[in-house]
Symmetry: D2
Subunit: 144 residues, 4 copies
């Protein structure tokens, strides 16, 4: 009777289990196979010494969206290599949106592009994540 798509169930389970994302105030928007979109507000506690959003917070946000996208088929998958280009600072009060798309997937290897934009649709950062499937799944077969 559970009509939710598998990718949603996996995302809900992952978000629930990941305390670090709550800490950053990351909110879930959308998920599909190999795709995810999330939201994060730049609050006071995410700022760095230059009074802009800490690069680590932006990376963590992009990485969280990457994780939801690459685990979306319920095959446990981890980040292996990531890179990020910071092209514009984000400031206190900015609402950031990050979208992950699957660029490549073959066997256990995947490549995802994540773009982080602000509320004015200006790009803040480009992130590329390389994933590798490991053993196991996020949610058990019997409860799918």
């Amino acid at each position: 009777m559970n009509q939710l798509k598998l990718s949603y169930k996996v995302a809900i389970k992952m978000m629930k289990d990941t305390q670090f994302e709550h800490k950053l105030g990351i909110e879930f928007i959308e998920v599909d196979d190999g795709f995810a979109k999330m939201k994060m507000e730049v609050t006071e506690d995410l700022l760095n010494g230059h009074s802009t959003c800490h690069g680590g917070a932006i990376f963590s946000f992009a990485d969280a969206v990457f994780a939801i996208a690459c685990n979306s088929r319920n095959i446990a998958t981890v980040a292996q290599f990531c890179d990020i280009s910071f092209v514009q600072p984000a400031f206190k009060g900015d609402i950031l949106i990050a979208s992950a798309t699957e660029k490549y997937i073959k066997g256990r290897n995947g490549i995802y592009d994540i773009v982080v934009v602000n509320q004015n649709y200006q790009t803040v950062a480009f992130f590329t994540g390389k994933s590798r499937a490991i053993k196991g799944s996020i949610i058990k077969e019997e409860i799918i």
Copy 2:
């Protein structure tokens, strides 16, 4: 009368101003021109859905050390491009140490290598950060 090296004064000022690092429990160990070393314990709230330390937390930690190293000469400097290789997971209770070394510096551009190890000296992640100096300084000349 102030005998502290400039790199220490800059680091102290930056650490004080950066709320995000307090949030992660990052502690300062050492700094010098183009060099920095810091510590972070993997607490419950830094875990991801796989029960290992969130990649974003590891990146943020490495990025924080990179920031202290590349601003160490009191020339305001920001991260432009970063990449990270996650080679081994970190677990709850692990004590991580990250060291940044300056690989290259010329004009406004710098390249830094940051290595994150655990309490058993096993490498958890390799991080490379490309920095660019902007206008201004971290602490004012008159109070140096």
Copy 3:
């Protein structure tokens, strides 16, 4: 009376001046502002010790297309940072096509994505190039 678009004139001049690309048998297909497409056949002399196309030859091909795209507005521009993901080998006789698209451009900095595919539209490599404009132009104003 010269009706050719500036991007074409720049590309023709660059291709003419670049002996290294002739050496690899790289052929020009198309160019526009921030965009370029080129072709390369995997000949015997581009193979490595595993009997597949040398990674250096694939990189050089992608890099050549990147150069044409980032110089397309006749502002002399050089590659600063590049990365490549080799996702599938290319074999002797394969016809590779690489297309560069401009992901980001602001002031003197640009980011380009280059995709290299084979004759069966299978992706061989993903390349990202970060460019920086320098002084000068490729072709002189008076002859534009």
Copy 4:
């Protein structure tokens, strides 16, 4: 009776089989487990449209040294992901030296740092290569 170290035999076999490196005039200097050093002169045919050494030629050179280092234990290994930072141009007549060192090796995965310097010991490029072992070896057991 053959006293040559395995890493040398593998390097000799790989250099012999790789036509692309001959094309670039790459010469072998030294090899050891996880380490390699090679030489390349910047000849006229390696120049780009800016009259400096083509980035593709520098990458190919670094990549060749990376290949020798990561195959040095006679376990067939390929490049998966590479990135390069061009920090200073190389000019016609420059003699470039590239050294590869093993940063990390575990199971089938390796990370290597390659530095390319000119005859004045100035760094021209930093290259990082991520390798993955595949099936097979470079030279057959019986002839080792």
